[in-house]
């Protein structure tokens, strides 16, 4: 069996509401090996969640539609599977956990019921065995008194505990791929680290790959091998965590890095932000989607869409000025007063 678990090619997703067509994802490609973690990072509306949800074909249709591309999981193109075959993948080979644990568990069923359901759907276990397995999963995700908690309702759990339950549901069938859509965003800072550590620990014990969607670069550095930086439905930069961390190339990635709050940020200084807001994806964008907010933008950026090129080995970026021949100086941007922003 090859080492390649997932290969996404030119994925396109559009949403139609009335007469407006929003191109949420425009040709995203990436690949993921077994036991490897990839992080997808970007602002709200960059298409990262839509990309992830599309992998399980859970985009509500209508209004959403996957209009192009391929999603090759092992040797199957998920976009060509029947609904029934797709259901065998969901929760079994690919699982997903969502952003807000307070709304992603069904309030009228016990957490035990919700874990057992997943197990019974995909594994040939009788009710008793399924229950044992579910209790075991609760123990595995670090829920104390698992047997007692099994028959409690979601509202009797704290946010962090609920996210642990979500993880238990997601991992109950030992999936090969876990998609985590901002799994820590809605949690307390103190709980965030616990949840991330738990995911890392469990990953080693069940050998799963993770797609981690986040807007927090810190989470990426902590837990991923590869990074995909998305902007306005496009991948603008991708590479290994090491590369992107040490040697980021795209001006948008620089913006994201600069807006992080780290120990080195002085409390005297104003926090750095990326001026402006992401473009309206229902309008046609000519040229580079980031051009309007980019401190380095010139004529060509507004006219021509930059190609994705391999700027360094395994490090891809889509910027006219970041080629093998030509490099921008990141420092330049920081000193720059950004008066040349074109709107």
């Amino acid at each position: 069996m090859s080492d390649m678990l997932l290969k996404v090619e030119n994925l396109e997703v559009q949403f139609r509401s009335g007469s407006t067509l929003t191109k949420a994802v425009n040709g995203v490609s990436f690949s993921l090996n077994r036991k490897e973690n990839i992080g997808i990072v970007g602002e709200s509306g960059s298409g990262k969640s839509v990309t992830a949800t599309s992998l399980l074909r859970l985009i509500p249709d209508p209004p959403g539609k996957i209009t192009g591309g391929k999603i090759i999981f092992e040797d199957k193109d998920l976009l060509k599977l029947s609904d029934k075959a797709m259901r065998k993948i969901r929760g079994n080979e690919i699982s997903m956990i969502f952003q807000d644990p307070s709304t992603s568990l069904n309030p009228v069923y016990t957490v035990g019921n919700q874990i057992v359901e997943s197990i019974e759907t995909h594994q040939h276990l009788n009710r008793k065995e399924a229950k044992e397995k579910a209790v075991h999963m609760l123990e595995l995700v670090g829920i104390p008194e698992a047997r007692k908690r099994f028959s409690m309702y979601p509202h009797e759990f704290s946010g962090g505990m609920r996210q642990r339950v979500m993880i238990a549901i997601a991992l109950a069938c030992n999936p090969k791929l876990l998609i985590a859509d901002e799994p820590t965003t809605a949690l307390d800072v103190t709980v965030q680290a616990q949840i991330l550590n738990l995911m890392k620990d469990l990953q080693h014990s069940i050998d799963t790959s993770i797609i981690m969607i986040t807007h927090d670069l810190g989470v990426i550095w902590e837990s991923c091998d590869k990074v995909l930086v998305m902007y306005a439905g496009n991948v603008v930069e991708s590479g290994t965590v090491q590369e992107i961390h040490d040697n980021p190339l795209h001006p948008y990635t620089w913006g994201l890095l600069d807006s992080q709050i780290t120990e080195s940020v002085s409390s005297e200084e104003e926090l750095s932000t990326i001026p402006g807001s992401p473009p309206d994806l229902s309008l046609d964008i000519s040229g580079c989607p980031f051009a309007a907010r980019c401190p380095f933008a010139e004529e060509i950026c507004l006219e021509k869409t930059p190609e994705m090129i391999e700027a360094a080995e395994g490090h891809f970026t889509a910027c006219h000025f970041q080629t093998k021949e030509h490099r921008l100086d990141r420092k330049e941007a920081k000193v720059d007063d950004r008066s040349n922003i074109k709107s």
């Binding site: 949800t53 399980l56 859970l58 509500p60 209508p62 259901r87 065998k88 993948i89 969901r90 929760g91 079994n92 699982s95 997903m96 969502f98 807000d100 709304t103 992603s104 568990l105 069904n106 309030p107 009228v108 069923y109 359901e117 997943s118 759907t121 995909h122 309702y153 509202h155 979500m166 549901i169």
Partner: protein, 321 residues
């Protein structure tokens, strides 16, 4: 839980007392007096006065009221002026007929309205959704006195399939009984069916966009289970409220339907009693209907807990937390 039910039962007393006062006053405000209505237009003045005296209607109104309440407390619901029968007997005779009609109408309404609402919501903005929404809008706005007459005209008069009026008896066989039941049940079910469909649709629409529905789908379970297990139970609360209201009002007697089909239920009894100015019957039946309302409401409140584990009852003021 037991404590909660007990305190709710105690709370029923003032509610029923207020209903008793209001009904008593309203019946006294209806123009026309029972004695002259009962004796007819040819009756002599002396006869009317004698009957009024015999019925105790000459007493001052507060004395009448105290007597009425006193009898209620002793469990005497009184004797009908016009039927010359104890009210309890009248209600015992009539109420089962109303129950039969109400239950069949509710079954029809639930079996058609709820699935229609679910289908409509899960296929939002499709042709089938638009059809169901339109039909249910027509349904809730339907003047059922007209619908009843039209059904009689078509199915009884033109086609001769069903009898036009009356309630069959089991003695004539089950088929005849059922035939008598069908048209009144359909007539009575129209508005509840449409109401259930609309409530179910809007409630389901709210639920199916929730995150836990996405979670359910992400587990790979079938769409049928997603809709019926995960969505419907969450969408059930508003439906339960409406169901409770419909049950109480149907059990209280379907005045229009019973009148059209001469169905000998509570509705017809009340109409009859009002026409004859039979105060005692009106008072007691309305009080009985109020009792049904409060009991059904209590049952519905208890059922909320069954459907939604988040609701917990306490006897403190504020009720639910």
């Amino acid at each position: 839980m037991g404590k909660y039910i007990f305190s709710r039962l105690i709370n029923m007393i003032p509610t029923l007392f207020v209903v008793a006062i209001i009904v008593f006053l309203i019946t006294r405000m209806i123009p026309g007096d029972p004695a002259s209505v009962m004796l007819g237009p040819q009756a002599s003045r002396e006869d009317v006065e004698a009957l009024t005296e015999a019925l105790g209607l000459n007493e001052p109104i507060h004395i009448q009221f105290l007597q009425y309440i006193g009898n209620l407390l002793k469990g005497h619901f009184g004797v009908s002026l016009s039927y010359n029968q104890p009210i309890t007997d009248l209600i015992i005779n009539r109420f089962p007929n109303t129950v039969i009609l109400a239950v069949s109408a509710l079954i029809i309404a639930f079996m058609i309205g709820v699935p229609a609402g679910i289908i409509s919501a899960s296929k939002q903005n499709s042709l089938i959704d638009y059809s169901i929404t339109t039909i249910s809008l027509i349904g809730v706005s339907m003047p059922i006195f007209w619908l009843g007459v039209m059904l009689v005209l078509y199915f009884s008069v033109n086609l001769g399939w069903f009898p036009a009026t009356g309630m069959g008896s089991m003695a004539d066989g089950f088929i005849s009984y059922l035939k008598h039941l069908i048209l009144p049940s359909i007539t009575l079910a129209t508005i509840p069916t449409a109401t259930f469909a609309r409530i179910t649709r809007s409630s389901m629409l709210e639920v199916i966009t929730q995150d836990y529905i996405k979670t359910a789908r992400s587990k790979g379970i079938s769409e049928f289970i997603v809709i019926f297990k995960h969505a419907f139970k969450n969408a059930f609360n508003p439906l339960l409220t409406v169901l409770g209201l419909q049950i109480s009002s149907l059990l209280g007697g379907a005045v229009l339907t019973e009148t059209i089909f001469s169905w000998p239920g509570m509705g017809l009894l009340i109409i009859d009693a009002i026409e004859k100015r039979d105060f005692v019957v009106v008072q007691s039946t309305v009080l009985f209907i109020a009792l049904i309302f409060v009991i059904v409401n209590l049952v519905v409140d208890i059922l909320y807990k069954v459907v939604n584990p988040k609701i917990s009852y306490s006897t403190n003021k504020g009720g639910t937390k």
